[in-house]
Subunit: 144 residues, 2 copies
DNA sequence: TTGATATAGTCAAGATAATTGACTATCTGT
DNA sequence: ACAGATAGTCAATTATCTTGACTATATCAA
């Protein structure tokens, strides 16, 4: 027994299982640029694009880390940036066709993965798991 | 709505919440060498030490990644390696006093964190969450 | 016993992530 | 028109993680 089995190690195993399967299937689907970090970022770009700075809040990264991640995705032609006409300090981030195709595949694969775990746990248990995970990170202690 | 809220993003948020709190409190307790990757590794070193190769299976890392992580922890005087007298190809990994102190603090902090989430969710819900996470990564589909 | 193969680990080089600090350009309010 | 504040870039550094080539030891079989 290496250590007592705490919540953290269980979360770690479960999250790794999910993420590993997602990246593997995205790569198998031909999106060889798709990595774990990029998975996080691309999932935060809204349908109609957004300011680079908006992604800061969504991801919690530093602006430099975000910038380099965007640089990489732009080099891969997954997204584009252009100066915001309404505020020339900012740049708008938008998916390219290649980005849209990847997002569609990612959506499908995530649904498949959800379905796989639903078969494993049962539908009620999966819903319960999702609720509990949400409750874990809810902002406040439940009032009273 | 950036994307549909799937299980993966929930796992991600919950795991980040846990890990961020753990690293932060370990750093605050004076273990400034403590990082996320090292947290994973040091949690896999058993009380009585083990072969370096044993850690490969436990972590799932490549032997080179493992080696470099061990190098770092050895430089920080958290653990030591010595040739296995029973098989001179291998090396035994053992915690130092500094490593033991850190592990004790980590244990305490993890228990505190568990308690914090137990207060947030309630004891039954926490147990249920742990069971569901275990079920997610259990090897086989439940036989029938 | 010798050779073939497998196992345990190292070394070196490079890619990817992520951080810090210093910087430019633009906007906003006075 | 000037002082912040905001948005983003550039450069350097560190940490993490891979791949490929390598050494040393052990095991097994002829």
């Amino acid at each position: 027994m290496p250590l007592f089995e705490h919540l953290g190690i269980r979360l770690h195993r479960a999250y790794e299982a999910w993420l590993h399967a997602l990246v593997e299937e995205m790569n198998a689907a031909g999106h060889d640029w798709f990595t774990q970090g990029r998975a996080t970022l691309i999932g935060h770009v809204p349908r109609d694009g957004c300011r680079q700075a908006d992604l800061l809040g969504r991801t919690g990264w530093t602006k430099q880390a975000l910038q380099q991640m965007l640089d990489g995705l732009e080099r891969q032609d997954v997204l584009q940036r252009r100066v915001d006409p309404n505020d020339k300090r900012g740049r708008l981030v938008e998916l390219t066709d290649k980005g849209w195709a990847a997002l569609a595949d990612a959506d499908r694969i995530k649904r498949d993965l959800s379905a796989r775990f639903e078969r494993k746990l049962g539908p009620e248990a999966l819903a319960q798991l999702e609720n509990l995970l949400d409750a874990m990170v809810a902002d406040a202690e439940p009032t009273q």
